[in-house]
């Protein structure tokens, strides 16, 4: 039995469909990210779990208990907001203990739990500070502690790091993940940052225009995107229009150049149009004799990206990126040079329409 279940969720706002046919089962202790561009329905879905929005149709259950029509304050769901939403009139300790005070816990229990939470977020000395005396990162840690203090069944995080600068974002996301693992709490994390989703999640739900595009582990989402949207949204990807040549042998061609894929042409006929995608890091310059997937190219641009060097090549009318790890002994081609690049059959991804 799944811990959190969203069944056939649809949400409409004044005739506009925000979320449709959303089905998801989340296991206890799992960290699931909703990833997608602005307006894709990820926050609306999160707000339906929190109870701030009511689904037009569908059902939300936690441990098989239907909470669809329960008020937000009657669900045991903790939430961390993008804008921190700490109560400015309360100290850090009062903020963390507020949910317990509402639950009429004893003073000693509140103090014990507040101290436990302060230790968890490494802010033991800040209990008496007010939110405006803390940095953004510290405020968000307090917001996390406040949400966790009430022992929620599910923890919801709505783009909690997007107001922070890059360095703090990276360290805080690792901290959030460590705390989530330590407590074994089920977490739903909304983000539009693919790197954040890939680094923090057990599973990612990629959303686009109110629908689920793909659900999978970060590895699956990155390496085996199933739709053109997922392919374009997650990571850098070379895409091209192709045509099936020999479905039995997984052969296809792009702009007259023949390529062999490993999978993805089942049910296709010769002459069918398909979209193909290849990650930049899957391309190599040809170092030895190869029989398949040889692409004649011309170097168009070379960009240093720190640990990686990105080379832009033209292959017929297509332009592809090729990534290679940077090292001091790397011999790079020059712009205008002609050469050949290749990739394995497994690197050629045939996308669903």
């Amino acid at each position: 039995m799944a811990h959190l279940t969203l069944s056939n969720i649809c949400k409409q706002f004044a005739g506009t469909v925000a979320v449709q046919d959303f089905n998801l089962e989340v296991e206890k202790g799992e960290f699931v990210s909703f990833l997608g561009p602005s307006g894709c329905g990820k926050t609306t879905t999160l707000r339906m779990i929190a109870g701030f929005e009511v689904p037009t149709t569908g059902k939300v259950t936690i441990d098989d208990v239907d909470i669809t029509d329960k008020a937000p304050n009657q669900r045991n769901v903790g939430m961390v907001f993008q804008a921190y939403a700490l109560f400015p009139n309360m100290t850090v300790a009062q903020n963390i203990g507020y949910g317990l005070r509402i639950r009429r816990e004893s003073k000693s229990e509140i103090n014990r739990r507040v101290e436990e939470m302060l230790a968890l977020i490494h802010l033991e000395q800040k209990g008496k500070s007010f939110p405006h005396q803390l940095s953004g990162g510290q405020q968000q840690r307090v917001a996390l502690a406040r949400a966790l203090a009430i022992h929620p069944q599910v923890l919801l995080l709505d783009e909690p790091l997007s107001a922070l600068d890059a360095k703090i974002r990276v360290s805080l996301r690792a901290e959030i993940r460590a705390i989530q693992r330590k407590l074994g709490i089920t977490a739903i994390y909304v983000t539009h940052d693919q790197e954040e989703a890939l680094s923090i999640s057990d599973r990612i739900v990629v959303m686009y225009e109110g629908k689920i595009e793909q659900v999978g582990s970060p590895f699956e989402i990155y390496n085996f995107p199933q739709t053109a949207f997922v392919a374009s949204f997650v990571g850098t990807l070379n895409t091209a229009a192709g045509e099936v040549v020999d479905p039995a042998n997984h052969l296809l061609q792009i702009d007259g150049v023949q390529l062999q894929a490993a999978v993805g042409l089942d049910g296709k006929q010769k002459g069918d149009k398909v979209s193909i995608a290849i990650r930049p890091e899957r391309f190599n310059f040809i170092a030895q004799e190869r029989k398949a997937n040889i692409l004649d190219c011309q170097i168009e641009n070379i960009t240093f990206l720190g640990s990686v060097v990105r080379i832009q090549v033209s292959v017929g009318s297509n332009r592809f990126y090729m990534d290679t790890f940077n090292n001091p002994f790397l011999e790079l081609p020059r712009i205008g040079d002609k050469g050949q690049i290749t990739c394995s059959r497994e690197a050629v991804l045939v996308l669903k329409a």
Partner: protein
């Protein structure tokens, strides 16, 4: 060019100060002439020892306090819910809150007398009608002060944060919203206080004891005491303003979010 501008600024400012303060200074000096040939506070002593003053002024203070309490109870939840649930109504409500500026008090009071002087709502003699009328009169100050306070905080997110922690509407209002708009509420309260203390028409036509009708009566009877009362009235208003700026200074309005 700049120097010329500065000189003109000073001239305009001095004219403004003279325009506002000369009558006040003249009134103050006049109020000190109750005793022949010497300047004294005799007029003030006469007022403060007059039982009628204490009686009328006490009632005015009572009306002001009740008006503030009713105003807070009525306008805080209204402004909060409009901001949270029906933001589309904000412009309509803002228009309504400005109506007391547009409708003359005399028209307002005759409307009240005509409406509430016969059954089923025969309450023209009840102090409740006066308080209700004062609440309407102070609405532009009280409502807008509260609304401005709410604008300074992220009402929606704070409310949702409270809800997610299990708080109901009462707890959210009293624990989270009210403490974060207390400066705004105090501003509205002191402005309402000043309005009610100086209000004449409603108290006079609804026949209730109050400071302004007493002052009007004294004007007809005495020479120096009304001038002293005008100064007292000014002093009260300024004291209210001073307290607003004192309370507002340093505390600021609470902000959601913050630096990184």
């Amino acid at each position: 060019m700049r120097r010329g501008n500065k000189v003109w600024s000073w001239i305009v400012m001095i004219i403004g100060i003279l325009y506002f303060f000369l009558p006040l200074v003249a009134t103050f000096v006049f109020s000190l002439k109750a005793r022949l040939g010497v300047l004294s506070f005799q007029a003030y002593v006469n007022i403060f020892t007059d039982p009628a003053f204490v009686y009328n002024f006490s009632f005015s203070v009572l009306w002001a306090v009740l008006t503030i309490v009713v105003g807070i109870l009525l306008f805080v939840p209204t402004a909060f819910l409009i901001r949270l649930r029906v933001p589309k109504l904000r412009s309509a409500v803002e228009f309504i809150t400005l109506l007391p500026f547009v409708i003359p008090a005399i028209v307002f009071v005759f409307g009240l007398v005509r409406t509430f002087s016969h059954p089923p709502l025969l309450i023209v003699n009840s102090p409740a009608l006066l308080i209700a009328a004062y609440t309407v009169l102070s609405m532009p100050y009280m409502y807008r002060a509260i609304d401005t306070g709410l604008r300074a905080i992220d009402v929606r997110t704070l409310t949702e944060a409270g809800q997610s922690l299990g708080a109901g509407w009462g707890s959210i209002l009293f624990d989270i919203i009210l403490p974060n708009i207390r400066v705004a509420i105090l501003s509205g309260a002191f402005l309402s206080f000043a309005i009610v203390i100086g209000e004449y028409i409603l108290a006079q036509y609804l026949a209730k004891p109050a400071f302004a009708p007493y002052m009007a009566y004294m004007i007809q009877q005495k020479a120096y005491e009304p001038a002293a009362m005008a100064i007292i009235s000014f002093a009260l208003t300024w004291a209210a303003m001073g307290i607003i700026s004192l309370v507002g200074r340093g505390t600021g309005q609470a902000q959601v979010g913050g630096g990184h």
